[in-house]
């Protein structure tokens, strides 16, 4: 069976790969949106922390013989704690200043973290096995689906939806949303806002770390793996706007799919298609698809 002269299995395979990439975009842009909402900081270090998540998982498995599932939980926690330290020692001092300083600081952190990993591990990829339970592939009749890819999509969509639920439907989320609107007032009601800010940053970067562990068996684990990704995620954020949690998730997944399909029909454009979409959105709807200017 063919569509526009391209075999269906090829299209489906790029489509799932697109969904996998889209899941990473979704998780990263979600983290960026949550952090930006409360801290007014665009976390450039998100790509580096994604890389760190993958590396910590690899280290745990290579040096300590821990298994994948354990690292899937532990690695985001470690990245989250690292984030808390960054927030407590550095970011905290910049909230009263122009937003651009937050961007510049996290840009510096990116270069530093990537540089440190690079000085120890070079730029070649580290081997990372797919966990045994998810090895192999399932034949769906119209295509062969590698199990691990299915798991990545399910796990990240699950995490994204839980985050959406917590923020939009629970009391904790209500505090968070209120803190985004008016931190002073929330503090007057007895909520510990500085703690909330710290934990939000920790959670946002832990999401990046989680995405990193999920990506590790698919993408080569190497110090610069987050570099190009973060720029694409920035474009995703510009396209979606940071006003809505669900918007970030949908934009991320959607752009992953578009990118996957471009790889089939017009491979030369696959690395720039997200940026082209960004240009179109800027021309038609400058505030972004789900955006409200802040």
């Amino acid at each position: 069976m063919e569509i526009f002269g391209y075999p269906l299995p090829m299209i489906m395979s790029q489509l799932t790969l697109g969904l996998v990439n889209g899941s990473f975009y979704a998780m990263l842009s979600l983290g960026l949106a949550v952090i930006f909402g409360l801290l007014n900081v665009i976390n450039f270090a998100h790509g580096a922390l994604y890389m760190m998540g993958a590396f910590v998982a690899w280290m745990g498995m290579a040096y300590f013989g821990l298994n994948y599932w354990f690292m899937l939980v532990l690695s985001p926690l470690i990245v989250g704690v690292f984030g808390v330290i960054i927030e407590k020692t550095m970011l905290r001092h910049l909230y009263k200043l122009d937003h651009l300083y937050g961007l510049l600081l996290t840009f510096g952190i990116t270069l530093l973290v990537e540089g440190i990993f690079r000085s120890f591990y070079g730029v070649s990829g580290q081997p990372f096995q797919v966990p045994e339970a998810l090895a192999g592939a399932t034949d769906l009749g119209f295509m062969v689906l590698p199990n691990y890819r299915a798991w990545v999509v399910v796990a990240s969509v699950g995490v994204c939806l839980s985050t959406w639920y917590v923020i939009e439907k629970t009391k904790l989320g209500a505090y968070l949303r209120a803190g985004t609107e008016n931190p002073k007032l929330v503090e007057a009601f007895g909520v510990n806002v500085p703690l909330m800010v710290t934990l939000t940053y920790g959670f946002g970067v832990a999401l990046a770390g989680f995405a990193g562990v999920l990506a590790a068996p698919i993408i080569q684990v190497q110090p610069l793996m987050g570099q190009n990704l973060i720029i694409v995620v920035f474009a995703v954020v510009v396209i979606g706007g940071m006003g809505s949690i669900m918007g970030s998730i949908l934009t991320g997944l959607g752009l992953g799919v578009i990118e996957g399909l471009t790889k089939v029909f017009y491979p030369e454009f696959s690395s720039t298609v997200v940026f082209l979409v960004m240009v179109i959105v800027l021309l038609i709807r400058p505030a972004g698809l789900f955006g409200k200017e802040k």
């Binding site: 937003h99 600081l105 270069l111 530093l112 540089g115 440190i116 720029i231 240009v279 400058p286 200017e293």
Partner: protein
């Protein structure tokens, strides 16, 4: 008063320098100094943080390189072609980016510059892809002065930089520059006073991009080649750092910052070897390769402790102790 002496001393040093140091390296320093000043026109005087200046710098280098090598244009026209290319990319990028404000502006410029990077990676003969554009002849200035001579080349570059710097100073102090300052300080107010803020922002963006193109094309002339390094986003980051170290919004700061950062980049390997010998820790040897790590560290220190930059701190200190205000 003091500023005039400062410029005179700086100019005297710049004239004397090629007789002491290596002219090609010094010419490279000048190009980066000009690049940082052009960038500062935007961040320091209009309040727009562009994360995409590498696109103008490198893009202009490629165009100028092709003009001189492939099309056989004389050096003056080649550099002008680079300036035009920088301005043109700036016009497109600026028109898109000013549709959003603040932090979004930075993200859009970064994403668009990444597009230029991918374009350069795949542009075949024009950029040479991963290999870069090699062996661009320096040519003769006005058909007479041979630029293959390093000292001649240096003074040609110095002339370009002085003229460009004069243009920047003039712009900053012109009525146009005052409007830009108003946009930086309080955009809604500038709008309410009847200024078409977007037009001013775009004009400043194009001017900064064209001057960055001038720096990029000149740097290509000095090196004789153009590679992907110059269009990569690390270059955009580097020019931000130069400006930050020297002092955003000061006229002389970016030049000083550029000199410090480039000199540091050059000497880092030596310091790494020195530290390895002194401490016996092998790891320091790798510092020379991981320049980015040190650049990142300086970034963090500057943002946390040193936001005004060297010249900025100096002016602030002078303002406190001298009792006089220097702008």
């Amino acid at each position: 008063m003091y500023k005039k002496y400062g410029y005179l001393i700086a100019f005297a040093i710049a004239v004397a320098a090629p007789f002491v140091g290596y002219p090609v390296f010094l010419a490279k320093l000048l190009c980066f100094a000009l690049f940082a000043c052009a960038f500062n026109l935007l961040i320091g005087f209009t309040g727009l943080l562009s994360f995409g200046h590498a696109a103008f710098y490198g893009g202009a280098g490629y165009v100028a390189g092709n003009a001189m090598k492939m099309w056989g244009w004389p050096v003056e026209l080649g550099i002008l072609a680079g300036v035009a290319a920088g301005g043109l990319i700036g016009l497109v990028m600026g028109a898109l980016a000013i549709r959003r404000q603040g932090i979004y502006f930075s993200m859009i410029t970064l994403a668009l510059a990444q597009m230029v990077y991918f374009g350069a990676l795949r542009a075949g003969e024009f950029t040479g892809g991963e290999d870069g554009l090699q062996g661009v002849p320096r040519g003769k200035l006005l058909g007479v002065i041979d630029l293959a001579n390093d000292t001649n080349l240096y003074f040609f570059v110095l002339g370009i930089c002085v003229l460009a710097f004069a243009l920047i100073v003039r712009t900053v102090h012109s009525p146009f520059g005052q409007v830009l300052k108003a946009v930086k300080e309080n955009e809604p107010r500038a709008i309410s006073l009847g200024y078409d803020v977007d037009k001013y922002k775009l004009l400043a963006f194009v001017l900064s991009a064209a001057l960055s193109g001038l720096a990029g094309a000149t740097n290509m002339l000095v090196q004789g080649f153009e590679t992907l390094t110059d269009v990569h986003w690390t270059m955009s980051g580097l020019v931000i750092l130069m400006t930050l170290v020297g002092g955003m919004g000061t006229l002389a700061g970016p030049m000083l910052g550029a000199i410090i950062i480039i000199a540091l980049e050059n000497k880092l390997g030596d310091w790494g070897i020195f530290l390895t010998n002194a401490t016996g820790i092998e790891w320091f040897n790798t510092i020379g390769e991981a320049v980015n790590m040190v650049v990142g560290l300086i970034f963090i220190i500057c943002v946390l402790l040193f936001r005004r930059g060297i010249i900025g701190e100096f002016i602030a200190w002078f303002g406190r102790n001298g009792g006089k205000k220097t702008a």
